[in-house]
Amino acid sequence: MLQPVIPMVTAALLFGIGVFGVLRRRNAVLVLLCVELMLNAVNLILVTSDVVRAQITGQVFVLFVIVIAAAEVGVGLALVLRLFRLRANINVDDVELG
């Protein structure tokens, strides 16, 4: 017997921490790190709901999320390195939009 509330609350806290980090961090790589935190929180919720509902769909989605996260990091880091090459600075506040 296990209580699904424990991983659920853990995941919620991880998500909150991730949101906090994304909003607070200025460094682009650190923002990516915090996005990973949020994705992991979602993964944890998906796996836990699998346990709750005795299904496997959640795990399938976790795999999809992990693949997408890998793609996201690949493109994100390419962007960051490009930015660094252009500006020698990866501070997201200093990026001019438009």
């Binding site: 209580q3 806290l13 998500f15 790589v29 990973e36 993964n43 795999l63 390419a78």
Partner: protein, 163 residues
């Protein structure tokens, strides 16, 4: 509280604690290393929830590749040893929104799942996950491969030198 509950709580504490370190440390590279701890802890949670396959995929892709890429990028963009001073914005709004969403969701989950007890499912899920992916979810899987290809092309184009 059964033994598995205790372990879930302990590993959850590790995950949350190291996640806090990720968002609060002033050492750039250490943030990435703390993220390794968080991801490892989440992988252990997966193991405890009997999602073995997903747990090891998490280790292989996240710890073995994603974090390494992140650390690689951090080191390529001049990571100093010691504290950096310009990593953070003012703490106020971020704390408000982050704590709001995190604690709000936590409260919601705690309320909804407060009395639920479930039996852990049987282990050995690689085959079941495979059947699910290539049965019900084969179309999303194919779309995902196109997405990966697009990401690959995009990353190459972005990191090519201007000619």
């Amino acid at each position: 509280m059964t033994a598995i509950d205790v372990m879930l709580s302990a590993v959850g504490l590790v995950a949350v604690g190291s996640a806090l370190a990720v968002v609060s440390t002033q050492h750039l590279v250490r943030a990435g290393l703390w993220l390794v701890v968080t991801l490892g802890a989440v992988a252990v949670e997966f193991l405890l929830l009997r999602a073995e396959f997903v747990a090891w995929v998490q280790v292989l892709i996240y710890v073995g590749a994603v974090v390494v890429l992140l650390l690689f990028a951090v080191m390529l963009t001049r990571a100093p040893i010691g504290r950096s001073t310009d990593l953070d914005r003012p703490i106020g709004p971020a704390l408000l929104i982050g704590a709001g969403s995190g604690l709000g969701l936590a409260g919601l989950f705690a309320w909804v799942f407060r009395d639920m007890r479930v039996n852990p499912p049987p282990t050995g899920s690689a085959q079941r996950v495979g059947e699910a992916i290539f049965g019900d979810w084969v179309l999303p899987f194919e779309v995902l491969s196109v997405l990966l290809l697009a990401a690959l092309v995009g990353a190459i184009v972005l990191s090519k030198k201007d000619t």
